[in-house]
Amino acid sequence: MPDKQAVRPGYNFAFLDEQTKKEIRRRILKAVAVPGYQVPFASRELPIAQGWGTGGLQLTLALVGPGDVVKVIDQGSDDVVNAVNIRRLLLQTTGVKTTEDTGAATLIQTRHRIPEERLREEQALVFQVPYPEPLRRVEPSEVKTREMHAEADYSRLWVFLYEDIVRWREITIGAQYPVLVNGRYVMDPSPIPRWDIPKLHMAANLNLFGAGREKRIYAVPPYTRVEPLAFEDHQFRVESFDGKHCAVCGSTASFLDELIDDHTGARRHTCSDVAYCAKRHQLLSENGPGAGRQTGNETGGGA
């Protein structure tokens, strides 16, 4: 990792004071104990704006220790300015090691994607969450949605899905598809594509979700059931990339970004997970074609 920046003097390790970190850790424990339940917490202001990842960042700051190796991605990329900015804050306030290699990271903070490489038990994935409440689509009031969760009253969200099918013949929700966690709480998985939803189901790693502006923390602990809401006769479907492959590494089993050529206007696709793509590309160039074939290590929902 090329980032070599001095730790900024005058700030506590990981920016937040210890009292605050302890409080956040207590809330995380509660979230892990009740999978999918939104735990309120007193979100702090950080030097990045609310709506720009402060929830995820507070989780990362509360969890990170000097021995951690951290990876930060936005839209699947380590190099998007917002990811760079968050990594910069982490470096300036902790001095920990960072990496782009998914396999080498102990703590991964992400916005809008789950890495294609399957995560392991000792890794934690921290999601930045803009809207923690999956029922907000049907009910604006927080008091009412908390009551609906308490009573497991999800019929209005189901009606929303039913009406979608009646009107459009399929469910029109793109990203941020609501899921049922451990058979009890309906949860907003953050705006990840549907492609990533199956990766949450019985995942080996800890998944933590932080909403800074809305002041909520929730979690999917390892090996927990995560089921997208679907009807018996209308199955959940991930995004289709039929007949398309990555122009860089040739992958047909990863979520693809669609690019439009500046000059010709032609479309091509590349992996959204840039680190995964680079790893495959390197394998290909070292070992020749065929080496980059899917190894079964990917967890692409479309496979």
């Binding site: 980032d3 700030y11 506590n12 920016f15 937040l16 004071d17 009292q19 605050t20 409080e23 309120p40 917490f41 007193a42 979100s43 702090r44 202001e45 950080l46 030097p47 704006a49 609310q50 709506g51 720009w52 402060t54 936005d74 839209q75 990329s77 190099d79 998007v80 300015v81 917002n82 760079v84 900015n85 910069r88 809008h112 803009p130 009031s141 927080e142 008091v143 459009w168 013949r169 399929e170 029109t172 929700i173 793109g174 990203a175 941020q176 705006p191 990840i192 594509p193 549907r194 492609w195 502006r213 002041k215 995004e239 289709s240 979520f255 693809l256 970004d257 669609e258 500046d262 959204s272």
Partner: protein, 374 residues
């Protein structure tokens, strides 16, 4: 390489930061001293202290300089700075009756005991653009200061006054609050999550940090008729109140650690409907904020009262609506976040739209087939 909107990394961010600095100083004028901002942009500093949730005039002045005068941005910087400060303790309850008043007006009575104190206000100034200020130099300022004498009947002389609401209470015209929260059970919004229904102390704390314009808009919506409580300004005060903390070693005694400038508004509103069965009384809306910020204090007081309307349906009467939407740091951050890349979610939505179009196409083709068959 063509336009690459999101990838670029550290160099791009650093270049942007340099450019921001360049835009601030490229005019070549003398640098603004933070002290100048603190002295001469007094109201902006006060506003930033309130919305930033930190009483620190000098830091607020630096934040304003850093933000090139954008009060929302400056408040954000101050609040982020505040997050790094440990909570050392809590002050004891401050009684605003002990306020050293610099300004005090009441709209409720023609002649209020203690008298109206206009203080430093522009309320009755003609809003003519004063071009002489463009030419103001330090000699003129010195000459003015040499000439200026505080008025014998007021001016800067510290004064305290009886409160208008105390007089109304003594006459039994004002409802007493059922419970006065004990100081040690008052929740701390910066350490505990905001949940609903929110208690009154939490509402008042939340509004004290809210954005002035946001509160004003919501309060104004009530004044225009969306949940009107027909307020009368009982009393508006601006002044200094002492801040004390419990003594570390001597239980029961306190130590004064300084004073803060605050603006306090008490509005008297119509009778409470739920108490119609007992003798009718006025109700009170209360607002207090850091610094000299009258619009904010009055708006807070109006909203404090509107949110007490249990059955209200107007936005200003809905505590979730008011408290969730008036915080300037939250609202500005989320409004700005739309500038972040959203191309993964957009790809996902695009997938849905294309699928719907395919389905619609199929339906149409099928329809045509049937027509052919018929």
């Amino acid at each position: 390489m063509g336009y690459v909107p999101v990838k670029g990394g550290r160099e791009a961010i650093e270049a942007a930061e340099d450019l921001v600095r360049y835009f601030r100083v490229r005019g070549g004028s003398a640098p603004l001293a933070a002290q100048q901002i603190q002295d001469q942009m007094r109201l902006a500093v006060d506003r930033v202290m309130g919305e930033g949730g930190l009483y620190a005039p000098f830091h607020a002045a630096v934040a304003l300089k850093q933000a090139e005068g954008d009060t929302v941005e400056a408040s954000f910087v101050l609040r982020a700075y505040r997050s790094t400060l440990p909570r050392m303790g809590y002050s004891t309850v401050t009684d605003t009756r002990e306020m050293t008043v610099i300004r005090r007006v009441s709209a409720a009575f023609k002649d209020v005991p203690g008298g109206q104190v206009l203080g430093p206000t522009r309320d009755y100034s003609l809003r003519l653009l004063n071009l002489e200020l463009a030419e103001e130099d330090s000699r003129q300022i010195e000459a003015f200061l040499a000439r200026y004498r505080p008025r014998p009947d007021g001016g800067e002389r510290p004064r305290s006054f009886p409160k208008v609401v105390d007089m109304l209470r003594a006459e039994g015209l004002l409802a007493e609050y059922a419970t006065k929260p004990e100081p040690d059970v008052i929740p701390d919004l910066t350490r505990q999550p905001l949940t609903f229904p929110a208690s009154r102390p939490v509402r008042l704390q939340s509004m004290a940090r809210s954005e002035t314009g946001g509160l004003m808009t919501l309060a104004y919506s009530s004044m225009r008729g969306y949940g009107n409580v027909h307020p009368t300004l009982g009393e508006l005060r601006v002044g200094y109140v002492p801040v004390s903390v419990p003594h570390r070693h001597r239980a029961g005694s306190t130590v004064a650690i300084g004073r803060v400038l605050v603006t306090e508004a008490e509005i008297i509103a119509r009778m409470d409907e739920t108490e119609a069965k007992t003798s009718p009384r006025f109700t009170l809306g209360y607002g207090l904020c850091f610094g000299h910020n009258e619009i904010k204090a009055i708006s807070t007081a109006v909203l404090d009262r509107t949110m007490q309307n249990a059955a209200g349906a107007a936005p200003a009467e809905d505590e979730e609506f008011v408290l969730y939407h008036a915080d300037g740091i939250e609202a500005s951050g989320f409004t700005a976040h739309w500038k972040l890349p959203h191309y993964v979610t957009f790809q996902s939505v695009l997938d849905r739209l294309r699928r719907m179009q395919d389905l619609a196409g199929e339906e149409k083709t099928q329809g045509e087939d049937t027509d052919d068959a018929g």
